[in-house]
C-alpha cells in the first residue's frame, strides 16, 4: 500500500518514565517481578475497559467477561514483554502497552460474540444493499449501483468474499481471518486491492468515485 514517509524512530526513549519501565522490566530478580506485576495490573485494567465497552456484544455471556479480560491481559503481557525492544519511546510506555491489551480484548470479544455463528461468506443478502432498483434512488445512482454490483461480481473469489463479508455483511475482519486461516493484515490487503480495482473499473466506465468514501 502506498504510504508517505514517516518520521524515523528515535534512538532513545523521549519520555523518562518510559526508560524507567523498560529498565525495570529488564532488571531481573525482585525488581523485574514487581514491574511485571504492575504491568499486568495496567493491562488488566485496559482489557476490562475494552470488554466493558463491548458489553452489548456479549450481553448473553455476562459471566465470561472477567475471564475474557484476564485472558486478554495475560496474552497482552506476553506480547509486551516479547516486543519490549520494539518500544521506541515515541509515546508514553503505558499508551504503547495499553494497545496490546485493547487489541487482545477486542479480538477475543469479537471471536466470542461470533462463536457458533455462521459467517455469511456465500450470503447473497449483500445484493439487496447494491440493488440498483432500491426505492428512492435516482437514475444516476441506480446506474452507479448497477455497475458496482457487476464489478463486485467480476472480482476474484477471495477479494469478493472479503469485500462482501467485511463491508456489506458486517463480519469483523479478525473473525473472518480466523475462519479463513489468515490474518487481519492479509485480508485487509485483499480488501484494499478489491476496492482499488472497483474504483478503477467504475472510473473507466465514466463514474466519478474520487470523492466517495472519504471520511
Amino acid at each position: 500500500m502506498a504510504t508517505a514517509t514517516m518520521t524515523p524512530p528515535m534512538q532513545m526513549p523521549a519520555d523518562p518514565a518510559a526508560r524507567d519501565w523498560v529498565g525495570e522490566l529488564r532488571a531481573g530478580g525482585a525488581r523485574e517481578q514487581a514491574a511485571v506485576e504492575e504491568l499486568h495490573a495496567l493491562l488488566l485494567k485496559a482489557a476490562r475497559f475494552e470488554v466493558g465497552r463491548r458489553g452489548a456484544e456479549l450481553a448473553h455471556l455476562r459471566d465470561d467477561h472477567e475471564d475474557l479480560a484476564q485472558q486478554a491481559a495475560d496474552d497482552a503481557l506476553m506480547a509486551v514483554l516479547r516486543k519490549l525492544s520494539d518500544f521506541r519511546g515515541e509515546s508514553r510506555f503505558t499508551t504503547w502497552a495499553y494497545k496490546f491489551a485493547l487489541l487482545e480484548a477486542a479480538v477475543k470479544v469479537r471471536h466470542r460474540a461470533w462463536q457458533g455463528r455462521e459467517v455469511p461468506l456465500a450470503d447473497e443478502g449483500w445484493a439487496a444493499l447494491t440493488d440498483p432498483r432500491s426505492a428512492g434512488r435516482g437514475a444516476e445512482e441506480a446506474e452507479l449501483f448497477a455497475a458496482l454490483r457487476e464489478e463486485i461480481e467480476r472480482l476474484g473469489a477471495r477479494q469478493r468474499e472479503v469485500l462482501v463479508a467485511v463491508t456489506l455483511s458486517g463480519v469483523p475482519i479478525d473473525v473472518l481471518a480466523e475462519r479463513l486461516g489468515s490474518t487481519r493484515g492479509a485480508l485487509y490487503k485483499n480488501l484494499h486491492d478489491a476496492r482499488r480495482k472497483l474504483r478503477e473499473e467504475l472510473a473507466a466506465r465514466g463514474f466519478r468515485v474520487d470523492e466517495r468514501g472519504e471520511d
Binding site: T3, T95, E141, F145, I173, Y188, G213
Partner: protein, 74 residues
Amino acid sequence: MAKDNEVLGRVLGPGAPELSCEQCFDELDRYVELVLAGEQAEERVPGMRAHLAGCPACAEDFRSLRDLVGREGG
C-alpha cells in the same frame, strides 16, 4: 441518499494512500497521543486517517485507546 453514500463509502473505502493494519498498530500509540494533544496527527502519521476510515477493526482499536488514555488525562 445518505444510506447510499454510506454503502458506497464502506465498499469503496477511503481511496487515498493508507497505512496497512500492521503499520497502523505500530503507530497507534503515537497517533493517539498526538490526537489527544490536539497536534497535527495526520501530518505526523500520514495515511493513518485514511486507514481508520477504511478498516473498521483498526478504527475500533483507535477509539478504544483514545478513550482509555483520554480518560486518564491524556
